[in-house]
Symmetry: C2
Subunit: 439 residues, 2 copies
């Protein structure tokens, strides 16, 4: 093909494509997360990436958010999923007669948001969601279980996090107590963004809603309550007496009780009344995890309790609680801040290099070794020296040299590339030595 | 929400959505396949599901196949990937300066084809591809390696397959030997579909191309050669002497030599000259795997050698060889034919059931057990009896009962749900007994 006709190979901006060595690491993180979900008996679910627009846009009455990738094929209006929650709602509504509740599922998959690509924002990203869905009721235990899951997942990823926990009903009830009824939503919205806009601006916005100085002070006080449950809970106990406040307070206390039973390290979670997580969705417990040494990463995991998951699709009431990790963004942040665990450029444990015309013996050996370790034959047409040098550059830990003497005696030269040590061994001895060294 | 406003929860036809117990099995198959690829030192790659139309449609000069999902967003023409090969071509062309060759990658991901949904055809399906890509050259060893990989993968899935192997240059050279030059492509196309249309129809179509009866007989003879390499190779040795035929014959012989070195069971592969695999793509070794006891499944894995992977994107010549498994279709066939390995409705090894107000103790125990086994707490608000009955119905193997006495003595009642046996044990003894029983 002539030069002019070549098409420049490129991908769209906002799409992450990792080098294979980093992809290996990314996949290992997914495996860790999966493993934790499974250890808590969550079952896997995989829903289609494409769904009918009437399903995915049910919430907005079919109106298309400009973030959502959508198109028509024939007569069908199709959207790409933009989260894993609406598909879950559709799934439990479709299958409520056959599922057993509480239904615990995890889903690790790509979602799509066609927003303007900007630093740290992706148009395609992997979300790792876990949810517990009940039928009619779901005990508060489930909320504690999700928080413990977050702790276990980030432990398994070797990341020190702080899980900030609240219950929205505390603030909702407190507003009621202060007589803020009509403006309640707007006030919550202002309080929700206080860490972004700052206290001064929040005060101005609250004043604009005709909230008195005295009330504003009370709001700023309660929203700044953050710390150990042991310390903060007593401060909250008598702040308000209405039903919704008491419900929030009781739930928060129970969650704390169960977290203590789980034995989570107390340095890894706290009560933080400023956690609100928007208006629309959550109705009780809410939580967000941050990495205290890297607060600039923002929230690395969030979630909470919702009263009615599948209201658009079913008359059955299905309350749930869930957590979500945006793995693509997290991985990108860890990568850019040199926080990825050390990784090798290769997935190869043993490379077999023929010295002379012994490819067939090499393949026989590969068939043997590959049952236990990652093993490849250097069959490309290059010199023995070049191959050995290359294996070193790739940091392959072991090389097996297969030449005339080796094939005749069935004793092979095993070279530890790190120490430089060379030993002539039978294949069984080679395997034993390698397994002993790498484990 | 009132009944009228409810949206009927459904998915589009042609999209597979498995129940969680089957999804667990599907994921396990993916894990097995991954494991085999990794044991051969293949590295993972994940490319975006969405690519620029100019990239994915490079081959057709931008013309859109009606199978391809495509849409525009702003000024950008976007396609959903319909295979994993074009993205691989784009990837190696983009990264040829940093990759080390031969580049071995596996990719397990969803691809999209918006064709009319019909029995056994999916619009979204998981493909499990492995390819070895060289720079300028790639030894024939790679072809044998891919075939051995197929053998190992299906072994790990516990499926008995037959891998039918040929080399397209045998037929191409033989046509040349018979003087079929101008019509070569059309003749190959007819031979390629002979198993679909039958010998009679093939003869008629060949006659229509003015091929003589004598030549037709020779063609039907060579295409029916199928069996052990030991038997068929000698029959092929002197059928033609031109360069391309000899190249095909030599490569086939070498592949066989290496497959013998790998020690693949001879009942699991054969030489089959009728394997052609279309016109456009493959240029040497070709192979297709079938399940001999279930030939109606068709090809469950296919692949072969191609001369120039990235010709549309790069001036560098990159030959490759690869295999592809359509896992969604395979899983669906196994499911419909009751060939899935037996599976349990649950992923739970131990369910902890509180008897009385002991949820906190249950959570402490769950934190302990979940480090080693899949463990959950039955915290839903139902009677103890109902929970125990449910655990039996779900086939959960072990139940731990946590009541007053148990908490006081820290000795817990472990019930083996299969044998009905009950024993009071410390948590350490419980774990030991469970691990001993399930492993």
């Amino acid at each position: 093909m002539s030069k002019q006709e070549l098409i420049k190979p490129r991908i769209m901006s906002g799409f992450m494509e990792l080098s294979p060595d980093k992809q290996l690491l990314f996949d290992k993180m997914i495996d860790e997360i999966k493993h934790v979900y499974q250890s808590f008996c969550f079952m896997p679910l995989d829903t289609p990436v494409l769904e009918l627009s009437e399903i995915l846009l049910a919430k907005s009455g079919g109106e298309i958010d400009k973030e959502v990738y959508h198109f028509t094929k024939g007569d069908t209006n199709i959207c790409m999923r933009y989260d894993l929650t609406v598909p879950l709602a559709r799934y439990v509504a479709m299958n409520s007669n056959t599922l057993s509740f509480p239904f615990k599922r995890y889903q690790i998959g790509k979602v799509y948001r066609g927003e303007r690509a900007q630093r740290g924002r992706f148009r395609e990203f992997v979300q790792c969601d876990g949810d517990i869905v009940g039928l009619e009721t779901l005990p508060i235990s489930a909320d504690a279980e999700c928080i413990f899951l977050i702790d276990k997942i980030f432990n398994s990823l070797n990341l020190d996090i702080l899980i900030q926990i609240s219950n929205r009903n505390i603030l909702v009830g407190y507003l009621q107590e202060l007589g803020i009824i009509e403006n309640a939503k707007q006030v919550l919205t202002i309080l929700d963004k206080i860490n972004k806009i700052g206290r001064e601006n929040a005060m101005l916005e609250l004043k604009a809603l005709n909230i008195t100085d005295n009330t504003i002070e009370k709001l700023l006080n309660i929203i700044s309550l953050k710390g150990d449950f042991d310390k903060i809970l007593p401060m909250l106990e008598n702040l308000a007496s209405n039903e919704i406040y008491q419900k929030g307070f009781d739930e928060l206390r129970k969650v704390y009780h169960f977290l203590s039973a789980y034995g989570i390290d107390k340095s890894r979670y706290c009560l933080d009344i400023s956690i609100i997580r928007g208006q629309d969705y959550y109705t009780g417990t809410v939580f967000e995890a941050v990495i205290p040494t890297h607060l600039q990463f923002g929230t690395v995991c969030g979630g909470g309790r919702y009263d009615n998951l599948a209201g658009y699709f079913s008359e059955k009431k299905m309350p749930g609680v869930g957590l979500s990790i945006g793995l693509t963004r997290l991985f990108d942040l860890l990568d850019k801040n040199d926080m990825l665990p050390s990784f090798s450029k290769t997935n190869t444990t043993l490379q077999i290099i023929p010295l002379g015309d012994h490819l067939d013996s090499c393949f026989t050996l590969q068939a043997y070794f590959s049952n236990k370790i990652n093993c490849e034959v250097a069959y490309e047409e290059r010199s023995f020296k070049a191959k050995l040098k290359d294996a070193g550059k790739k940091q392959i830990p072991f090389v097996l040299i297969v030449g005339d003497d080796e094939v005749e005696q069935q004793l092979f030269m095993l070279k530890n590339m790190e120490t430089g040590e060379q030993t002539k061994l039978s294949k069984e001895e080679c395997l034993e030595l390698i397994l002993k060294t790498i484990n």
